[in-house]
């Protein structure tokens, strides 16, 4: 396996827009990591359909992001050493989910190459379709984190958002 050292190359740092929250947050492991994993992957020839659920729509969205990260590596190997802000906007619930996942994917693909162990939505504005969330995890390291499957893009294919009393679920097909 190769040891890719991110500091090694002459990459000029393109300006990034991620800001770490000012007030340090303390947490315990038990608060953050769910015991039973509320998401799964469904059948499809070319791609993968993520199915996530929760008591609330916020939870379903959070778990969908985790389902996506879970495809790229084994989340059990990810420690929590830093956090990243996620801000997403859309014009309806579907596009909001799309952009939320896209922002999470982008955290991984470009600087900070961040993989999340847990994602918490702090603000879910249904009138203006905006989400603010915090992702807890660390930078992806080859050797420490097993290499899973690459997620190329989020798609609108058969995307479904179902919000019901006490149970919400979402379906998203991702291109891999």
């Amino acid at each position: 396996m190769i040891d890719n050292d991110p500091q090694d190359s002459n990459h000029e740092q393109l300006p990034t827009t991620n800001a770490v929250p000012d007030t340090p947050i303390s947490w315990t492991y038990g608060d953050i990591v769910p015991a039973v994993v509320p998401f799964t992957n469904l059948d499809h020839t070319a791609d993968v359909q993520l199915h996530a659920w929760g008591d609330t729509l916020e939870e379903a969205f959070e778990q969908c992001a985790m389902a996506m990260f879970g495809y790229m590596t084994e989340i059990d190997t990810v420690e929590i050493s830093e956090c990243q802000d996620v801000v997403a906007e859309g014009h309806d619930l579907l596009s909001l989910l799309f952009h939320f996942l896209d922002e999470c994917l982008f955290l991984f693909c470009a600087d900070p190459f961040f993989i999340a162990r847990k994602v918490s939505i702090v603000e879910f504005d249904r009138t203006n379709f905006r989400i603010k969330a915090v992702a807890y995890g660390e930078e992806f390291q080859i050797g420490k984190h097993p290499q899973g499957t690459e997620v190329k893009a989020i798609t609108y294919s058969n995307m479904q958002v179902h919000e019901n009393e006490g149970k919400s679920e979402v379906f998203v097909i991702i291109d891999i």
Partner: protein, 506 residues
């Protein structure tokens, strides 16, 4: 989607010869042209099975069956000829993978659709030859495979090792392989043996989002994951000795290197950005399609033009990517054998794209027209004497590189005149999936897959071994079936069959 009984659906399909079926207008609403798909008996069963399953009540899925998708594409404005399904066709986003569709540039209603190109813009295959024989390589096969794996960054989260900064990226996006040549990563002859000479001239990096550039920069020079690979292959059979010798392939047992890769996160981001833009444009311009996933824009509109320019930049990215890996492969071989890549005759036989849209001249109903040809999971296959193919291949026709699935075989074909007429010079691209990834994970054990490869004498280096069953041959259609169908249908001709002895995957 119109849902009828299966028997009703069959009335719209007609088998016109043993290798070709026609899809009549009316199968889906608003079809402007007919559809056609090329299959043999075995592949035909898979296609019809897919259709039958979708006719069952209560079937709701993300993708429609391939035949329906071909028909929906035939309903797009400006399409000419026929909506063509190649033998490796399988369902995809909007367009099926293995679908070719050409649009008249002279018609203001004609559209361009990112779904007709694919998310992985300019995913393609490059084949290098060597003057080594299998006997030269077998004693050092493991070391050579390891060396390739060490040189070429693979898998999720891997980063390129060729030094690049933001300005280099801008230049690479604009210049394509000319950048690689300037930087000393490729030989001048390599460009000759590449579609578009490795550079699409209408690329405009300013039309590409910052987000795509940020995703692309760290990944330049990486192989990727999924079905991308680098393989050390052996010539197993030569069907057309004369054409093979024009490609520098003289004997069975000759060693080649095949690289299958695309534009990585960059291309995906460009496609995603374009789809978002075009959804808005469709509302504004009142473009209606049968399927929301067939997002498109008029070719002449700002969104259409921007997409073509950024798609060209992504295509250039992929050529630079394959060129970087060519360089790294040459280095790996040179170090192993203590000879220069030149001494080893490691020339590029050809480089093809199988996810791209090109502006080409074709004869439609006896008249010459300029068409925008979308090839998604389909390879260009131009015939002998076509002006756009290299001098070396003027008499043989364009080489077509068909990558097989892991552990099976790959093929080199040549383009034919019949293909030029029937499919606007397009043919298959590979095997096409049969099983979903989730099903593969459930039913196939990765240890069995690795074990079987070892038994076949194939050295394998994979970044994510536990996912190797998703890429197992059982998950795919049979590439030999696909290639034989193209040959029998006359749309391309078999030239060489290659067998892998080492596989490097993400």
């Amino acid at each position: 989607m119109v849902v009828r009984q299966y028997n009703e659906e069959l009335k719209y399909l007609e088998k016109i010869n043993p290798y070709c079926w026609k899809i009549k207008k009316g199968f889906q609403p608003n079809m402007n042209v007919e559809g056609v798909f090329y299959v043999n008996n075995h592949l035909e069963k898979l296609m019809l099975e897919e259709l039958r399953n979708s006719c069952r009540p209560g079937m709701v899925g993300g993708f429609l069956p391939g035949v329906k998708q071909i028909a929906n594409v035939a309903a797009l404005p400006g399409i000419v000829g026929r909506s063509v399904g190649l033998p490796d066709i399988h369902s995809g986003y909007g367009f099926a993978i293995g679908n070719m569709a050409a649009f008249d540039m002279g018609d203001p209603k004609s559209v361009v659709s990112p779904g007709g190109v694919g998310f992985d813009i300019n995913c393609g295959v490059r084949l290098l030859r060597t003057n080594l024989h299998e006997n030269d390589v077998l004693p050092v096969k493991e070391q050579l495979a390891q060396s390739m794996f060490d040189h070429i960054p693979v898998g999720v989260g891997s980063k390129g090792i060729i030094p690049m900064n933001a300005r280099d990226l801008e230049e690479a996006l604009e210049m394509g392989m000319d950048w690689s040549l300037r930087e000393g990563y490729v030989w001048a002859e390599d460009k000759e043996h590449c579609e578009e000479y490795g550079r699409m001239l209408n690329a405009d990096p300013s039309k590409v989002s910052m987000r795509a550039k940020k995703r692309g920069l760290p990944q330049l020079g990486t192989l990727g994951a999924g079905n991308h690979y680098a393989e050390i292959q052996v010539v197993d059979e030569i069907f057309d000795k004369w054409a093979a010798s024009k490609m520098g392939i003289e004997m069975k047992g000759q060693i080649c290197v095949m690289i299958h890769s695309g534009s990585r996160g960059f291309g995906h981001q460009v496609a995603t950005d374009a789809l978002v833009q075009m959804e808005k444009a469709m509302k504004r311009d009142n473009i209606e399609t049968n399927d929301r996933q067939l997002a498109c824009a008029h070719i002449g509109s700002p969104e259409g033009q921007d997409y073509l320019k950024s798609m060209a930049a992504a295509a250039n990215f992929a050529w630079v990517n394959r060129s970087s890996m060519t360089f790294l492969s040459r280095q790996a071989f040179a170090k192993q054998f203590h000879l220069t890549p030149d001494d080893l005759d490691m020339h590029v036989i050809y480089d093809v794209s199988h996810n791209i849209a090109k502006i080409e001249e074709h004869i439609v109903d006896g008249k010459q027209k300029t068409l925008l040809v979308h090839r998604k999971g389909s390879t260009r296959a131009f015939p002998p004497h076509h002006p756009l193919i290299p001098v070396d291949y003027q008499l043989t026709g364009q080489p077509v590189l068909i990558g097989g699935t892991m552990g099976t075989c790959s093929y080199v074909l040549t383009g034919t005149e019949q293909g030029m007429q029937e499919t606007f010079g397009s043919t298959c691209h590979g095997a096409g999936r049969a099983l979903s990834r989730a099903k593969s994970r459930r039913n196939i054990d990765y240890k069995d897959v690795l074990h079987r490869l070892e038994e076949m004498g194939i050295s394998i280096r994979v970044a994510s071994p536990k996912l190797v069953m998703e890429e197992a041959p059982e998950s795919y259609k049979n590439v030999t079936d696909v290639v034989d169908t193209c040959h029998a249908a006359g749309i391309s001709k078999k030239c060489i069959k290659l067998r892998p002895i080492a596989v490097i995957k993400g």
